[in-house]
């Protein structure tokens, strides 16, 4: 399944506006204003000026929070998004519940304590983001993430992503029984997405610090249905052509 662009000119628009540049501009803007995110539960709250608001929207980070405040637009970032801006892009600092800025190690400790599977999920998220895919929550489709080739206003997401981990015997316990397997695959098919299983091997490196992530191995596999009926027809056609 290739990319499904949402309207005429969408593909051209995406090509003219590469995601890598949008993210790079966002990074620069946040660094220049010494932006700080606020840790709250499993979210990071980030205040943005007008330019940053536009960049955050174009790069698809976070959900806008509707408030009456005029000068600052508040965004709610997921842990993966917050940590990506803080650790991978190094463009925001994060402030804890004690109102003090936390270093990366402290943020990591906080996040891993809130969510045991955070390391593998973050690894999968950052793996795709670093390739300039737009990665959003997949809960509407019963998966972990959905991945878009560019902004969701331009293109439908191509991949429904599940994060599987070798070490903890598959972190989220998905695709372990047939009913779940069939269910997930059917749902993905009905919304025209390919199921992508991202297998993370933490190679025994543990979770003590974010630098462990560098040693994690990532393998991508698509899970698709095969129809021998169609396949055979294609092969017969090929044979006939070469006669």
């Amino acid at each position: 399944m290739g990319p499904r662009w949402k309207r005429k000119g969408a593909e051209a628009k995406a090509l003219a506006d590469p995601m890598s540049k949008i993210v790079s501009d966002l990074r620069t803007s946040l660094m220049l204003s010494n932006s700080q995110g606020i840790l709250s539960g499993r979210s990071v709250l980030l205040g943005a000026d007008a330019a940053q608001t536009e960049l955050l929207s174009r790069a698809c980070f976070g959900q806008p929070i509707i408030t009456a405040e005029k000068d600052i637009q508040w965004f709610e970032l997921s842990m993966e998004e917050g940590f990506y801006l803080c650790y991978s892009l190094r463009c925001i600092k994060i402030v804890g519940e004690d109102k003090r800025v936390k270093d990366e190690q402290q943020v990591w400790k906080y996040m891993t304590s809130k969510w045991v599977a955070f390391p593998v999920f973050f690894k999968a998220y950052s793996h795709l983001r670093m390739k300039n895919w737009v990665v959003r929550s997949g809960s509407q489709y019963g998966v972990d993430f959905v991945a878009y080739r560019h902004h969701p206003s331009l293109v439908h997401s191509e991949y429904a992503v599940l994060v599987l981990s070798k070490e903890s015997g598959d972190a989220n316990g998905r695709l372990r029984v047939w009913s779940d397997f069939h269910c997930t695959l059917r749902l993905c098919g009905s919304v025209a997405k390919t199921l992508l299983a991202i297998n993370i091997d933490s190679a025994g490196k543990g979770v003590t610090s974010p630098s462990c992530l560098d040693s994690y191995e990532v393998e991508e596999r698509t899970v698709t249905r095969w129809t021998p009926e169609e396949c055979r027809e294609n092969q017969i056609v090929v044979e006939n052509r070469t006669k």
Binding site: S20, S57, N132, V134, V191, N199, E219, V223, R232, E239
Partner: protein, 262 residues
């Protein structure tokens, strides 16, 4: 881009469900009058079941399916249990036992249930489905033929059929028994080599299979299991089969690398 615009086009909510006409949809419920019957054939091949080998030896060949069915050993064709049952179900093969008594379909079904001969009901379902689509299907790692050097003292020329098994130096027979017995039922194993429909198929040089089919039972395959099989199959694409209530589903777990986007 305005926040409002962006919020309304948040990924996901605008993805409409595409209703895919599911060709397998609906229950597999038949009204008794509707159940089709295969046409009775008056021309049947004949075979004798060899219990020690776990194979049927073809005694009388009729029809053109023999270029793509059965393994050749010493000038004779031997069929696995699934090949035998497939042909018997079609009415194209008459199977008898060592005492030349005709084996009924019921008796052959029971043989499948015994799981002694390297197959099982589920693997038969896979075989049957693929064959009915026209594919050429052989047991994984069981060669279609074994080439022999002419000066080989164990050469079969001039050896009467009755002594065939013994005079083969036992190694051939043993290796076949070993292979069949080694196909133990566990969660995941390669079962069939599949070739595309081909009227010019030659058992003496079949080439590489298009796919190796692996049969799954308890649970979907884990990543380590998939990797083990890929190593074993050396580059031949794998397809994974799951049989459930008479329905065979096939899956691929292809390694990919999403492109780095601009």
């Amino acid at each position: 881009m305005e926040v409002e615009d962006w919020a309304s086009s948040t990924g996901g909510t605008s993805d409409s469900e595409i209703s895919v006409q599911d060709s397998n949809d609906g229950e597999h419920c038949h009204i008794s009058g509707d159940i089709p019957k295969l046409q009775y054939r008056s021309i049947k091949s004949k075979a004798r079941w060899n219990d020690e080998l776990g194979l049927a030896e073809i005694v009388e060949k009729k029809g053109r399916m023999w270029t793509t069915t059965g393994i050749v050993r010493g000038g004779n064709i031997y069929c696995s249990l699934e090949e035998t049952l497939f042909l018997a179900q079609e009415g194209a093969l008459q199977l008898s036992d060592d005492d030349n008594l005709c084996l009924t379909l019921e008796e052959i079904y029971k043989m499948v249930g015994q799981r002694k001969y390297g197959g099982c009901w589920e693997s038969f379902q896979v075989y049957r489905h693929m064959k009915s689509l026209g594919y050429i299907v052989g047991r994984h790692d069981l060669p279609w033929t074994i080439k022999r050097v002419k000066s080989d003292p164990n050469s079969l020329e001039g050896i009467p059929e009755a002594n065939l098994m013994k005079n083969r130096g036992q190694e051939d027979a043993n290796s076949m028994i070993e292979l069949l017995n080694s196909l133990r039922i566990n969660n995941l194993r390669p079962v069939f080599d599949v070739y595309p429909p081909n009227s010019k198929f030659k058992k003496s040089s079949p080439g590489n299979p298009s796919y190796v089919l692996c049969l799954l039972s308890d649970h979907p395959p884990s990543n380590p299991e998939i990797e083990d099989l890929e190593r074993h199959c050396n580059g031949v694409p794998l397809k994974f089969c799951h049989v459930d209530h008479g329905r065979v589903s096939y899956f691929s777990f292809d390694k990919v690398e999403l492109h780095i986007l601009p």
